[in-house]
Amino acid sequence: MKREKHYRIAVVEATALLVCSVVFAASYNHLSGKGIPWIASERIVPYAADTTLTEDIALPAVDINAGAQSSGPQRVTLAQAYKLHTNRKAIFLDAREEERYGAGHIAGAMHFPYYQREKWDQLLKNISPKSTIVTYCDDDCDSSSKLGETLYELGYRRIYVLEVGYDSWRNAGYPVTVGQ
């Protein structure tokens, strides 16, 4: 009985604290000037025009559809990515974890785990800033766009993010490699 009362008090008190937290949080987020949107927006990466993919190395890449100089990575469709793959004009970077990369990746793709930053310095030594790069991950993830944005900030300018992911690539029958 005593223990039950102990729990009952705890639940009521915790609920009161939670309600107060929500009220304070909403007020602070609205009034402080340091607030963020309640719902995070999806990362919007503009599509690359076919013409930009066929150009020789030119810095920075220009998104013709947007009519302005690109200020970040651009998105490529599966077909555009496959074209870059067959032309051997691009380095494909797999942003997923090692196990997923080992279970299957785009043929010739380099493992570049977004969440293991300590490996980046070594990996970036093999990639010229002038390289055309396509980043990808799984169909439902955003480490490829995050990787693209980070590489762009590091000075890489021809960065393309595969709009879908490895699953769609494999399902389309495009070349894959299993293992390291």
Partner: protein, 167 residues
């Protein structure tokens, strides 16, 4: 000294309360300065769906602040303790699953002691210790300097109704 005596050693739990309260107030305040960065840290765990990330980033610092304040002041102490214990259980699970998935990220947490800032065994151990401390505070029956809600608004029942009748 038996285990029960240790657990009911009031000054031990009072010390833990002050320590945990200070840690959580510090942690809450430091997150309030950079809500976007905290949201990014939550996102890196890849556990929550995208619409839930900012909601948690906005509310969690205040839960930490108020729970920490309740531990320090003794007001709504058990509620604060159970909230902190729940939060630590969730943090521990998040760190453990990230380690199991091989994700190497900063933990997104901020303590005044800088014990471990990246997800790993150090962070896991730190979280488990804080969880144990919060549970100890919660289950300690006789806290000192605390002000709990009184849910018994009605007076205690009278055992013999005849005693209550006016003469």
């Amino acid at each position: 000294m038996s285990v029960k005596n240790i657990l009911q050693y009031r000054w031990l739990t009072l010390t833990l309360r002050l320590l945990l309260g200070f840690i959580f107030i510090y942690s809450g305040f430091s997150k309030l300065g950079d809500l976007a960065g905290f949201a990014e840290a939550i996102d890196n765990y890849r556990i929550l769906p995208r619409p839930a990330i900012n909601v948690l980033a906005i509310i969690l610092p205040w839960i930490e602040l108020l729970s920490g304040a309740s531990l320090l002041s003794g007001i709504l102490l058990r509620g604060g303790a159970i909230l902190i214990a729940s939060a630590m259980a969730i943090f521990t699970a998040a760190v453990a699953t990230s380690m199991a998935r091989g994700i190497d990220i900063t933990c997104g947490c901020s303590t005044p002691f800088k014990i471990a800032s990246r997800v790993g065994f150090g962070k896991l151990l730190e979280d488990v210790i804080l969880l144990a401390a919060a549970l100890l505070i919660f289950f300690f029956d006789k806290p000192i300097f605390s002000f709990a809600l009184d849910l018994d608004k009605n007076p205690a029942p009278i055992e013999n109704p005849h005693d209550a009748q006016p003469e």
